[in-house]
Amino acid sequence: MSKKINLKIDGISVTVDEGTTILQAAKQLNIHIPTLCYHDDLCIAGNCRVCVVEMKGSRTLPASCAMPTSEGMEIMTNTLKVRTARKHIIDLLLSEHNAKCTTCYKNGKCELQELASESKISTESFIDLVPHKNYQMDSYSPSIIKDDSKCIRCQRCVRTCEELQHVSALSVAYKGDKMKISTFFENPMFEVVCTNCGQCVNRCPTGALVERNYLDEVWAAIYDPDKHVVVQTAPAVRVALGEDLGLESGVIVTGKMVTALRRLGFDSVLDTDFTADLTIMEEGFELLTRLKKALVDKDPNVKLPMATSCSPGWIKFIEHTYPEYLGNLSTCKSPQQMFGALAKTYYAQKKNIDPSKIVSISIMPCTAKKFEADRPEMRSSGYKDVDYVLTTRELAIMIKQAGLDFSALEESHYDSFMGASTGAAVIFGATGGVMEAALRTAYEVVTGREVPFDGLNITPVRGMEGVREASVKIEGTTADWKFLEGAELKCVVAHGLTNAKKVMDSVRDGKSSYHFMEIMACPGGCIGGGGQPIPTNAEIRRKRTEAIYAEDSGMKIRKSHENPEIIAIYKEFLKEPLGHKSHELLHTHYKARARN
């Protein structure tokens, strides 16, 4: 048991565990201390100084986020001294900040704006420093826009990029008044190791880092009478969208979202889950094929472990960091891109629509998907497969712009076809989900029986541990798969690129013998994606994950290969997994990129 510490905050006694900070202790007493650089997911910086408090016996006002409690401590959070200092600090931040709030993308969602409003800073008491700065705007990336004039140097993005993602595309440059958050040689984010994961965007308190939005483009397409606008929605969007529209975290809003999309004017509302199921078919067979090549044909060129390829942040990470392992990536496109390729081929043919008239939109929990859609490889339909990618946040903005009362909307179903899905596809949205979905199908393909886990729930691959390992013993194989009899399929799941790095290092150093790796760039998987509603923390991600699994257990069909529309597309169009058509439309290749 840890040591207990007794202290007083604003005259109220409280007992806390040793190591608790003043900020955490105050939270226990429901005393709110404002913060800016602090973030639940990140290490303590203590650099904004907004959270300073008065401590009896101390000449200085310590930052409550960084100061550990000690026995007999007396803290005052609300004295005139604290108030004056805090107001000064917020005022100083404003003097360096381009405070054109009404035209800022984060207007109404900015933590600095909120603090300034709370402090009622009515006149600018300090000299405006913005005209003296040579602030730069980096708007080259298809995913993320970085506007230094909005930056308050809290370094949340720097810590995110380093601690959670081990990418360090963003770091601190220069010192003193010239100190700024920058990239390698101040190159545009587009040209550095940035994976476009958007985790920095999720944690930026101001409008300094935001997604590149395509709202105007999408509205224009919707109102273009010549265009047939198809929209797909990723699994993780339905468990988070509500947060930006006044609902609690973890509320499933699939039905309302579908209605909202129709009301916005999309011609066809379809589901990325359909191609998630398709991914399982293609990727599952790809894995089994690689295993056969390795075990039966003894082909020395086969690359194992095979890694999932659904997460475009992870793809760009491996392209920069472990280019020698590109052969280990599944060649499957992500569900978004499979969908895009089919929308302008299979869908167009079946609906008898000229593919040049189709505008394909996707709603994603992700900023990296914007980059992915722009990759030159992603034009196998003969057109840009996915025209515009919107984040969950952008969809929420559109719903508000259209004046829809979201919580009052009736629920409705996706259009058919390419709208049917399974529980296996839904769980793509959570870390471990792709692995679980793949195992549900692959196991059944080789044994003819369901995976031997309670009610199809493969719990060892679920959860929030950064790296999770599981192994599945394959027994009672059917005639075609005898070579796998008795084999132990070793799997690993990682989320967040720092964990991805751990797994890749162990693979590189020969310390592990995995067959299959599921890697997602974002903490928690797509439910914690860089395009999801802000804020994010472990609790919010847990609630979204619970919602994902609840949606899965509520589905009638929970295995990808049982999706009737999947059965139909193979019958009518693709013929077989890994077939000629699949290779043309559903598979891709990768490119090595520089390490800076």
């Binding site: 303590i44 910086a45 203590g46 650099n47 904004c48 100084r49 907004v50 300073v52 000449r59 200085t60 006002l61 930052a63 960084a66 100061m67 550990p68 001294k81 004056t84 200092a85 000064h88 600090i89 100083l92 931040l93 003097s95 360096e96 008491s125 300090f126 000299i127 420093l129 003296h132 308050i152 140097r153 370094q155 770091s171 601190v172 220069y174 010192k175 003193g176 008044d177 010239k178 100190m179």
Partner: protein, 387 residues
């Protein structure tokens, strides 16, 4: 008024000693004896902050962690300070001697000397001296090694925790405290970090005993101190003087007869105006100093002096914390605006309140001490700020 010379002391630069011998004798004592002698002497850190040296060593010695470090802070960057350069140039063996004694007390096997980037010219000689020192230790069968690490020119890296960050290969930014270096310093291990001069005094106390040191100075400021004297003085240079003198006595000795103000402790120190010379003691009971004494005569504009200091801080702030990064910019832009008449003179009061906030909320000593020169110059030379 009689014109008197202050008492010169010769502890630091005294060449009439055998460092190897002192080490040998000191290693014959037990650690408690050494710490008690140091405690008895009343030696406080000579970098400026004035923490009792014996306690720093004692707290670090008490840590159960087996790996500990002694670091000599030779990142002498305070404007107007150049005494560590002289010490390292003239008596490096005494600096190393202080380090090995500290290593014995705390149980360190490794020491580092963090040398200011601009002092690279000292490096070849220091390395040669270090080789000799290591040879001496080998003779004495003492297991301890010192490595010299070069700084890269940032003032902030003289702040102890920023110095650790720099040594670990990171950006030089001060850490949150606590934990203090005695608990978690370099590589997160218990670390003693001492100024160059402090280590030499500690070594001299080992040689002469506490009494000789204690005889000098006052109750709060024991011993002597090396001063870097510059500005409007006919006798600019390095002087070792007894602590406890008043600014008046100092000016009598070193002024040019027309001294208007003395900046004690560099840009981060205090400006003492003529009217306060008599009552101000140079030492921990009055104005503490890391050694920088800048003398200004009546030809100098104190507005320019302050502007110069603020420019220095604006550039040398690491930039991480708001009060220091933005506060420095506001102070400098603010005094410029008042001087140009763009802001009313009472804007200075607003800036003083800001300086007060910086003093109590900045993350490290740099940001906190900007207020020292700002207050003492603005308060005492207000008319020069406005007209």
């Amino acid at each position: 008024m009689s014109y008197t010379n202050l008492k010169r002391v010769d502890l630091i630069f005294d060449q009439d000693c055998n460092p190897k011998e002192i080490i040998k004798n000191t290693f014959a004592k037990n650690n408690d004896q050494i710490v008690n002698e140091l405690l008895e002497s009343g030696l406080k850190g000579r970098g400026g902050a004035g923490f009792p040296t014996a306690l720093k060593w004692k707290y670090t010695a008490e840590q159960p962690e087996p790996n500990k470090y002694i670091i000599c802070n030779a990142d002498e960057g305070e404007p107007g300070t150049f005494k560590d350069r002289e010490i390292l140039f003239k008596v490096p063996q005494k600096v190393f001697g202080g380090m090995v004694v500290c290593a014995k007390v705390i149980g360190a096997k490794e020491g580092f000397l963090y040398l200011r980037g601009e002092y690279r010219f000292l490096l070849p000689e220091l390395e040669a001296q270090l080789a000799k020192f290591h040879a001496d230790l080998k003779d004495l069968k003492i297991d301890f090694k010192i490595k010299i690490v070069m700084g890269s020119g940032a003032y902030i890296c003289g702040e102890e925790s920023a110095l650790f960050e720099s040594m670990e290969g990171h950006r030089g930014e001060p850490r949150n405290k606590p934990p203090y270096p005695t608990v978690s310093g370099f590589r997160s291990k218990p670390t003693v970090i001492n100024n160059v001069e402090t280590l030499v005094y500690a070594f001299m106390i080992c040689m002469h005993g506490a009494r000789k040191f204690k005889e000098l100075g006052t109750a709060d400021s024991r011993g002597s101190k090396v001063f870097s004297i510059s500005g409007d003085t006919p006798k600019a240079g390095i002087y070792e003087l007894e602590l406890g003198m008043t600014v008046e006595q100092f000016v009598d000795d070193f002024g040019d007869g027309d001294t208007k103000a003395v900046q004690v402790g560099g840009a981060s120190g205090f400006c003492v105006p003529r009217k306060k010379f008599k009552e101000t003691i140079i030492g921990f009971e009055g104005v503490p100093t890391g050694g920088s004494m800048m003398i200004f005569n009546s030809s100098r504009s104190m507005y320019n002096v302050l502007h110069n200091y603020l420019e220095f801080f604006e550039e040398e702030s690491c930039g991480q914390c708001t009060p220091c990064r933005v506060g420095c910019q506001q102070l400098i832009k603010g005094i410029e605006a008042v001087k140009k008449g763009q802001k009313h003179a009472n804007y200075l009061e607003h800036l003083q309140k800001l300086a007060q906030t910086m003093k109590i909320t900045a993350k490290c000593g740099l940001g906190q001490s900007v207020a020292n020169s700002f207050f003492s110059i603005v308060e005492n030379f207000k008319e020069e700020m406005i007209y």
